[in-house]
């Protein structure tokens, strides 16, 4: 969150916490615009407290915050993409260990992955530990891998294909 500190005022302008994602920023921007650009119950009853000028200034600030945060998220994504590109060069097999290594290098906590992918943390841990026995049936596991890979900005299809190959191999061995 350290790199977000300079953007605190912008997050505050959109009434968001510092860890909000771009979707939330976009939504908040639309809501704020709605509140302050049209007359509503809430704005009409405020009376002398807000002049037209105040409103215009505020809308400009809201716009500025949205632009700045938009840039921030775009740059952030680019950095992530570049970083991932360097990291994944030469990796041909994506097992749990490789995924965990990449995640560590990107400084992404597992809780963040769990929160934004909505995959329970327990499953993510098993995923990274290649603990196939504790993972659910293939369709679910594949879904988890895809979501996990997307969160790390990896090529989700490639990762899933590689991971599931190992999973299937284990299943076949177990079956014998």
């Amino acid at each position: 969150m350290k790199d977000r500190a300079p953007y605190q005022a912008h997050f505050e302008m959109l009434e968001l916490p510092l860890d909000a994602n771009f979707d939330e920023v976009h939504k908040a921007w639309q809501v704020m615009k709605d509140i302050y650009s049209t007359d509503s119950l809430a704005t009409m009853s405020i009376g002398e407290e807000v002049s037209e000028e105040d409103r215009r200034l505020l809308l400009a600030k809201i716009e500025e915050a949205y632009q700045a945060l938009g840039d921030f998220f775009r740059d952030h994504q680019q950095l992530l993409d570049n970083g991932v590109h360097q990291l994944t060069e030469g990796i041909t097999e994506y097992d749990g260990k490789a995924l965990r290594t990449i995640r560590h290098l990107l400084h992404i906590p597992l809780d963040d992955v769990a929160m934004s992918t909505r995959v329970p943390r327990k499953h993510l841990e098993n995923l990274e530990a290649d603990n196939y026995a504790a993972l659910p049936v293939a369709v679910y596991t594949r879904g988890f891998v895809i979501n996990y890979a997307k969160h790390l900005a990896l090529d989700a299809d490639l990762v899933a294909k590689s991971y599931m190959e190992k999973y299937r191999k284990w299943q076949e061995e177990k079956g014998q």
Partner: protein, 308 residues
């Protein structure tokens, strides 16, 4: 009924704004909801027009706050059983005494005894209007609750009440630090100082000296109100709560939390007429579920997310 020193109660109070927005209903339901997790004492502090008992489904208790003021009965002895498990009620009395007639010493004694009541949650239901006794009582609460409905009259009243609440607190804090009458005097000279609204007054006060600025910023950092939107009928109504919250934050600089909304239900007044507490009669209605979410949000500080 007097508690040991280890028990810390959370005081919640609702007050101000317009009459009939549902303060008593929201408070009574919040009290019933909280009574499932701890001991609750509800105080009907609407001295002129106590009606909390109606929403709890009981008739007016015979011992009331009047006994505290006129016969000096200890507050704890006046708490009566509400018929709902874990929930005690202390009621006001219609007609004999109004919030306006209470003297300063009586008020301080009342506040002290309220804080000593044996309960996990103490809920105070105050009357409408902006009398300073109402405001002072609200200011002792850990959670100040303001109920609005999606109507212009109610929202306008709320902004007005919020200004009064903030001023009173500001005046109190500055008086405590030796700046007696600073707020009142500054407001009195508003024309000369070019102050036309709330924000400008606060800005002007902060400019008095670095010390005053520090006092205002430090002491009012935790000043927060919990907004509840009652009688919501449409999604648009629910979003009004988000807008009002945003305006409180941006134009008043007051930390407002949109703690919850409660959907309109005709059965609310019907169940009061039938002396049935709404929450136990219709526990699964959308309105009751709104109350449950509100309870969680007020305790945790969470807010209603924007849905559009």
């Amino acid at each position: 009924m007097v508690k040991g020193p280890e028990r810390k109660s959370i005081i919640m109070a609702v007050g101000g704004g317009k009459g009939g927005v549902g303060k008593s209903f929201v408070m009574a339901s919040l009290g019933m909801s909280l009574a499932r997790q701890g001991r609750v004492v509800m105080i009907d502090g609407d001295l002129g027009g106590a009606n909390l008992h109606n929403f709890l489904g009981i008739s007016r208790p015979t011992s009331t706050l009047t006994d505290f003021f006129e016969r000096k009965v200890p507050l704890a002895d006046l708490v009566v059983d509400s018929g709902i498990s874990n929930l005690g009620l202390l009621t006001g009395m219609v007609g004999t005494i109004g919030a306006e007639t209470i003297k300063h010493a009586q008020k301080q004694k009342l506040f002290n005894q309220i804080r000593k009541l044996d309960a996990d949650y103490i809920l105070i239901d105050l009357g409408a209007g902006t009398h300073f006794n109402t405001i002072d009582t609200l200011l002792i609460a850990d959670k100040m609750i303001i109920v609005i409905t999606p109507e212009i009259v109610s929202i306008e009243n709320m902004y007005n009440f919020l200004r009064n609440l903030y001023f009173r607190r500001l005046g109190g804090v500055l008086t405590d630090h030796g700046y007696r009458d600073l707020v009142v005097n500054t407001w009195h000279d508003r024309d000369a100082l070019g102050i036309s609204n709330f924000r400008e007054l606060v800005d002007c006060l902060k400019a008095v000296s670095p010390e005053v600025r520090l006092i205002i910023e430090e002491e009012l950092r935790d000043f927060a109100v919990n907004l509840v939107l009652n009688k919501a009928r449409t999604n648009q109504d629910i979003v009004t709560g988000n807008s009002v919250k945003s305006i409180c934050v941006k134009f008043f600089g007051v930390n407002a939390l949109y703690s919850g909304y409660v959907e309109h239900d005709d059965l609310v007044s019907r169940s009061a007429n039938h002396r049935t507490p709404y929450l136990s009669a219709y526990p699964n209605s959308r309105c009751s579920r709104g109350i449950e979410r509100l309870t969680v949000n007020i305790l945790s500080g969470q807010q209603v997310k924007v849905t559009r």
